[in-house]
């Protein structure tokens, strides 16, 4: 057993990170700045809008897609958040979740399509997804900080790693579940690749893809406290601060706000998948 000397995975990793940092560090910085700008302007926008308006928007969305009960819950829940002075923090968290989820969709859905279409891509992507989903978040928190500094950008990147796999997996699953006869239908009428994709496969896979996006949102929300440890503000930051100061009551309030946000987003996006024949 001991014939083979220790394999220095740790040193290799450090060297690799250092190399990337030296070679691409400035590019990461520029990327980080642009992304921060985008996320911050979304945060500013959400905070600038009157809380009443946002509550009404959520209530209407919930009413339209998920029914009266969810709409009532949204109104009461969001009012409660406003009442306990957590509104701004909630908007910061919402902005971060939206950013992460939008990125997950932009990156994840095409990758999912690729994995469904090309077995080679599937063979490469799948083990990476296993890796992303099981590697403890704290392990990639540090490199994220190394590349993107402290703040909201590394938080979003870390969230991305944690929350993107279900989008990819379920997009692939959804496409593979399209009945063979409908694939034949598309081909038999002479559809091109993109006609197949946009007219047949994606519409039919939509409920499954929506389930993936729904999972992505929930996972993003579950990352907010961890994200706070590398400088993301918002509800996660409040919970983190409360933990550090042993303020059980404040911690509970912020936690409750996360739950309210999660339930409303979950119910609305869940019904996106269903509300169509």
């Amino acid at each position: 057993m001991d014939q083979i000397p220790r394999i220095p995975i740790n040193k290799w990793t450090d060297t690799g990170i250092d190399y990337l940092q030296a070679k691409w560090g400035s590019s990461f910085e520029i990327f980080s700045e642009h992304m921060e700008e985008l996320i911050l302007s979304l945060q500013d926008l959400l905070i600038a809008l009157p809380p009443g308006l946002i509550i009404i928007i959520f209530a209407l969305l919930a009413w339209r897609f998920a029914g009266k009960k969810v709409a009532m819950f949204a109104i009461i829940g969001f009012y409660l958040i406003y009442n306990v002075n957590l509104w701004e923090y909630t908007m910061l968290t919402l902005a971060m979740v939206i950013s992460a989820v939008v990125l997950c969709i932009i990156i994840g859905v095409p990758l999912g399509i690729l994995a469904a279409k090309r077995i080679g891509a599937h063979r490469i992507i799948w083990p990476i997804l296993d890796f992303m989903q099981t590697l403890p978040a704290f392990v990639y928190l540090l490199p994220a900080v190394t590349f993107f500094g402290l703040g909201v950008v590394p938080a979003v990147i870390a969230t991305l790693i944690f929350a993107m796999p279900p989008v990819i997996r379920l997009t692939t699953l959804g496409l593979k579940q399209v009945p063979e006869e409908l694939i034949e239908l598309g081909h038999s009428f002479g559809s091109t690749f993109s006609q197949m994709l946009f007219k047949i496969e994606l519409p039919l896979a939509r409920p499954t893809i929506m389930a993936g996006i729904n999972q992505c949102i929930m996972l993003s929300l579950s990352m907010v406290v961890i994200a706070a440890m590398i400088g993301a503000k918002g509800l996660g930051g409040e919970v983190w601060r409360a933990i550090q100061r042993m303020e059980i009551g404040n911690g509970f309030e912020a936690g409750l706000a996360i739950v309210v946000l999660a339930i409303v987003l979950d119910r609305i996006t869940q019904s996106f998948g269903k509300s169509n024949n």
Partner: protein
């Protein structure tokens, strides 16, 4: 030139079809090939041709290779060997772009389980082929409504497929296939998923439509009654091969193999066989100018109580009875033209036995079979009809 010409077509599923084809040429059977090469033979050296406007039925049980064969015709399956000429163009050798064009314009498919897109309304399902063709919107909608009317579903245009019955869903499938105005329709067991009554209704509708549209149809079924009803010609498949190809009556009356024979056993012969298959030759006729004594003499010789009358060209004129002939013979009339009766029913050679039975049951004398030019082609006697039902040919 034939519309579709298939020559020595084989389809092998697996990663190295060459090995299987080699064994196939040595005459090994499919099971042996599968064991030795792990390749599955779907279609085995099949040749046939289909004329423009013909309805060609491919029949066989599941696993006989009929669906594999059908899918070779529009390239959903790529043929392993052999050629498939559509209007002279070999579709097993065209490139992707050419194949796409052929599928868009020339050949459309109708599916067993309808294959409607659940997220689109009936209208938007029918429009699919036109959308793929890239036809502009107004023109598209006009065509769609035309074909929806043709299948009687114009009132359902804005419904989703899930609110339609099976028969209606398949009509949508039919309208969708017709909308691109293809020459060739591939129908993959289109009515198998329907209730028996709806199925019959759809078969009749298809026959009516076909009279109007004159498409070249390749129709797949496992139901011989359906094959006989719809097909101009029938190819019977087993283990990837065509075991018999011919018109319904050829297959019914002279099954090529024991397998076909067993297949044919349970068919409803009364719907499959027509007058021309069971009629006997009119052994004796008289002409209007003949005298009553001649007629009586012929009747006596064949021990019959009546005779059919034709002119010299064989055109059917009616019949005479022995009683009438005797009467005018006594009154010394010289020609029988005054006693020709025309009230007896006649049938055309295409009339099915089911329809004939009714007529024969209520008619005293044999029934005349006449063609569209009113030429007397033969005679139906009870014995020959019953023999036909029992599955034997009665030689006159």
């Amino acid at each position: 030139m034939a519309k579709i010409e298939v020559k020595n077509l084989s389809k092998v599923y697996g990663n190295s079809p060459e090995k299987a084809i080699e064994l196939m040429e040595k005459g090994k059977n499919n099971e042996e090939i599968r064991k030795r090469t792990k390749q599955v033979v779907g279609v085995r050296n099949v040749s046939f041709s289909v004329e423009d406007g013909e309805c060609f039925v491919i029949m066989g049980l599941s696993g006989s290779g009929k669906s594999s064969l059908l899918r070779c015709l529009n390239g959903l399956n790529r043929a392993s060997t052999g050629s498939i000429l559509l209007d002279g163009q070999d579709i097993s050798r065209v490139n992707t772009q050419e194949l796409r064009e052929i599928r868009r314009n020339k050949i459309a498919m109708i599916f067993q389980r309808f294959a409607l897109l659940p997220h689109r309304t009936v209208r938007d399902n029918v429009v699919y082929g036109l959308e793929v063709q890239g036809i502009e919107k107004e023109k598209r909608n006009e065509k769609v409504m035309h074909y929806l009317k043709l299948v009687g579903l114009e009132a359902w245009a804005d419904y989703y497929p899930s609110s339609l019955s099976g028969g209606m869903q398949q009509r949508v499938g039919l309208a969708r296939a017709l909308a691109t105005d293809p020459d060739i329709l591939l129908m993959d067991e289109p009515f198998s998923a329907l209730d028996p009554l709806i199925r019959q209704e759809m078969q009749e509708e298809l026959i009516e439509l076909q009279k109007k549209l004159q498409k070249t149809i390749i129709f797949i079924t496992h139901d011989l009654d359906e094959a006989i009803k719809i097909g101009d010609r029938i190819a019977l498949m087993k283990d990837g091969e065509i075991v018999q190809l011919g018109e319904a009556e050829d297959i019914l009356l002279s099954p090529a193999t024991e397998y076909v024979g067993r297949f044919v056993q349970n068919v409803d012969r009364s719907k499959a066989l027509t007058a021309s298959a069971v009629m006997v030759k009119a052994r004796s006729v008289v002409y209007p100018k003949d005298g009553p004594l001649v007629a009586l003499h012929i009747m006596e010789r064949h021990s019959m109580s009546g005779l059919f009358v034709t002119d010299r060209k064989g055109v059917y004129m009616g019949h005479i009875t022995a009683d009438d002939a005797l009467r005018i013979a006594e009154s010394k009339e010289r020609q029988i033209d005054s006693i020709i009766r025309q009230e007896a029913p006649t049938v055309s050679p295409d009339t099915t036995l089911a329809d004939i039975l009714e007529i024969v049951a209520y008619t005293q004398i044999p029934v005349a079979v006449v063609d569209e030019d009113n030429i007397l082609k033969g005679v139906l006697v009870r014995g020959s009809v019953i023999a036909g039902l029992a599955g034997e040919r009665m030689d006159a």
